[in-house]
Symmetry: C2
Subunit: 287 residues, 2 copies
Amino acid sequence: MGIAEAAPPPEEYPPIVKGASLLIAYQLKNRRVLLIGGGVVASGRLFFLLESGAHVTIVAPSPLEPSIAHRLTTNADDITWHDRDYTGRSDPIIVDDFVMVLTAIDNNPLSREVCYMAREKHIPVNVADVPPECDFYFGAQLRRGPLQVMVSTQGQGPKIGAMVRDRVIAALPENVEEAIAGVGELRGELRKRAPGVGGELGQQRMAWMIGMCDSWSLDLMGDFRSEALRNRVLEEGWEKGKKVVGPNDVGQCPSLWAERVIGEYCSRLGGWATVCGFLGGITVGYS
Amino acid sequence: MGIAEAAPPPEEYPPIVKGASLLIAYQLKNRRVLLIGGGVVASGRLFFLLESGAHVTIVAPSPLEPSIAHRLTTNADDITWHDRDYTGRSDPIIVDDFVMVLTAIDNNPLSREVCYMAREKHIPVNVADVPPECDFYFGAQLRRGPLQVMVSTQGQGPKIGAMVRDRVIAALPENVEEAIAGVGELRGELRKRAPGVGGELGQQRMAWMIGMCDSWSLDLMGDFRSEALRNRVLEEGWEKGKKVVGPNDVGQCPSLWAERVIGEYCSRLGGWATVCGFLGGITVGYS
């Protein structure tokens, strides 16, 4: 038996390191969630539930934390409030009617009872501040339109999670929302020109879009919101042998880029008005 | 009625902007997950499920994607494999036995059936590539020990999600794992000195830890892995009126910091050996 045969197969795959969470983006649009509690922690939960489009049933006695009271007026259709304590298994509101259950109350035995009730029915449950009774945790997060980022430290350092989140914010291109919107519009236009689901054409579309994203970078992709530019890259790129065209291939881009950079610089300084006033002031000073 | 009374209350709270996902970190340690499918997409799912400590039941006929076959040997205790197609409602493997169900197969009617089966039982389900049949999506992600980050674009630009993820990686301090470990050890030591759950002392501990994190920054917190430094900040800070002490307050830190920066620089160059060899070469060259 030769050396080649005796040698173990190369380890092509990264080893499994346990101890992680499964990070997922839960879809709650028009789905019912039960939130037990009306304090500060509950108000944070409510914010994220409403942003995800859930209908939230709150069971908590008055007085509610002020932001929850505020949401009851601004988002009346999205919230049902029961002004009383939840009573566990004897309560007429049963967990089966919800796709997710959260408690944020100081009553540990009641929280535990709710946790058991939910788990018996396979319904995902989160009990604030009691990790063993949580099917899922929350993390530090940020949102910019369709972009969402969550940072989790497996409960080992929530403050560090928030610090990492702040680094992420600082590292994001100013116009990342525009980039996502621009790429979405370019893809939409491409689908109109080359319609159909799956198959070879679908793969060509995907390959071209990936190539375009690689060539344009996050900072520039917002430029695809311009219809003229979309038509140009589709005409000069996709239509001519599905060629990927970069910013340097289309003459229009340097000006778009300059416009964006100058505009961004100005918005950081407080907008054009400030800059113009400032420049005006300089001019006056030297006149 | 005066102007003050007539004016609407100030909008203190950010308005709700719907369309988000609820980003959560699901806990699957020692919990059972059903994975239907044995191809490339299933292999990605399997990796993240195993890292989160789940026991995964795979139902998929041979041949399995090579990395799945590999995991069957390296993680035999964590996987049960049924070498056959799943048959839906008639299958002896029922969804009730699992806390999560995922399918990654080309059979759309079967996927839909599995989705309905899971939803009837409130079990979170993901059907690859069919958003309406998903209770949750996955996103671009990264892991550094206890730190995990997920980037979601609400399905509008998976490539952009991956690009943002790469920016996050570039923005992270090299030693972010060390920072989390260091802060964890400091907190552990603090709890030994000032034990007890909740109450005023708990709040003082939390306030001191947050102050320490703010003073030390992500780049330096890995230094808390040094027992000498931990004792020093606890003695000179916590024990003396719960004072927050920064890197400049403890003489030891500049050297620790220099050691870290030099070490990091060297590891980027390929370790001390390279540097020493390089410096040695220069010395020889000039001797």
